[in-house]
């Protein structure tokens, strides 16, 4: 399936693309557009204004994707907390990792094209996921 999002990847789009490919649609192909009018008819838009998979209420796109796909994995919600704080900085979660990951993504998006940012950040999110899975091995509930 094709997925479309705005060009100029930052943390919410990069992490959402990773989430889509790894947990929602393994065959996902990404298209980068500059506005809603450029979204191909057969593509599902995400992290754009006025679409289902965007910010809703106080959720960022990554959280919206988790909710709409009933993904309750606590390790994913731990990553969601980091993405949320890096993206919205509203202290909804305690995520000290957020400022660090934020500057890494900002730096990458300054020097690399979107495809490369996706290729480079995929293993980063894979690593975070495994890391938090291990730390949550003894079981914690995801935030509601």
């Amino acid at each position: 399936m094709r997925w479309a999002t705005r060009a100029g990847l930052h943390i919410d789009r990069a992490s959402s693309a990773w989430l889509i490919r790894r947990f929602i649609d393994p065959d996902a192909v990404f298209v980068f557009v500059s506005g809603p009018e450029e979204v191909p008819a057969d593509a599902t838009p995400f992290d754009m204004r006025g679409v289902e998979f965007g910010h809703h209420g106080s959720d960022c796109t990554f959280e919206t994707l988790l909710r709409r796909h009933d993904l309750l994995d606590p390790a994913l919600w731990r990553i969601a907390a980091i993405v949320h704080e890096a993206d919205l900085e509203d202290d909804r979660y305690d995520a000290p990792e957020a400022p660090g990951l934020d500057v890494i993504l900002r730096g990458l998006s300054m020097t690399q094209d979107d495809e490369t940012v996706l290729a480079l950040t995929g293993p980063v999110f894979d690593g975070l996921y495994d890391y938090y899975q291990r730390s949550l091995l003894l079981g914690k509930e995801p935030p509601s």
Binding site: G8, H10, R49, G50, G54, H55, G57, S58, E89
Partner: protein, 175 residues
């Protein structure tokens, strides 16, 4: 100072209206705008100097307003006169200056009254400093003063730790 019109700032400007009730989404939107450090240009008119990040933030706020049943319009604006631009920047800078002064005062109090609490106070101050800096688009001189006061507290703490290494219980008795 350069005064050519070409160097004038572009502002992302949000004109919005949120229904008075229910109040929860209205307050969430207000909090979000406050956290972003917007210039309040009037009732339901806010602006931020434009860059990729501020544009995206205000786009999402506009979306949040629509979801709350309100109306939202986004504009790219430019002050017609340099003076008006300065008025906007000054208002934003003085709002931040007040926050920095508060941080400086808290750091000075913690420095003057040594306590076992100092490390916790420092952590909190650094966190609050980051929060203020994120919404600081026109840094006032108070910023440097706050940074210096917090650094002074950090140095004092470091020195106290080094001194306390030999005899921690004694050091705590004197603190």
């Amino acid at each position: 100072m350069v005064t050519s019109p070409a160097s004038r700032l572009r502002w992302v400007t949000l004109v919005y209206r949120v229904p008075r009730t229910p109040s929860t989404p209205r307050i969430a939107i207000w909090r979000r705008l406050r956290a972003l450090g917007v210039a309040q240009l009037g009732d339901g008119v806010v602006a931020l100097p434009e860059d990729a990040r501020t544009r995206e933030h205000l786009e999402w706020v506009a979306e949040q307003v629509l979801e709350a049943g309100g109306t939202a319009l986004l504009f790219r604006a430019e002050a017609m006169s340099r003076d008006d631009e300065r008025v906007m920047a000054h208002a934003m800078a003085s709002a931040r200056a007040e926050e920095y002064r508060d941080l400086t005062a808290r750091a000075n109090v913690a420095l003057a009254v040594p306590s076992s609490d100092q490390a916790r106070v420092l952590k909190r101050l650094r966190r609050d400093l980051r929060t203020v800096q994120r919404r600081d688009y026109f840094p006032p001189p108070e910023r440097d003063q706050a940074v210096a006061a917090i650094n002074a507290l950090a140095s004092a703490l470091l020195a106290a730790d080094a001194g306390a290494g030999a005899d921690r219980s004694l050091a705590e008795e004197f603190s």
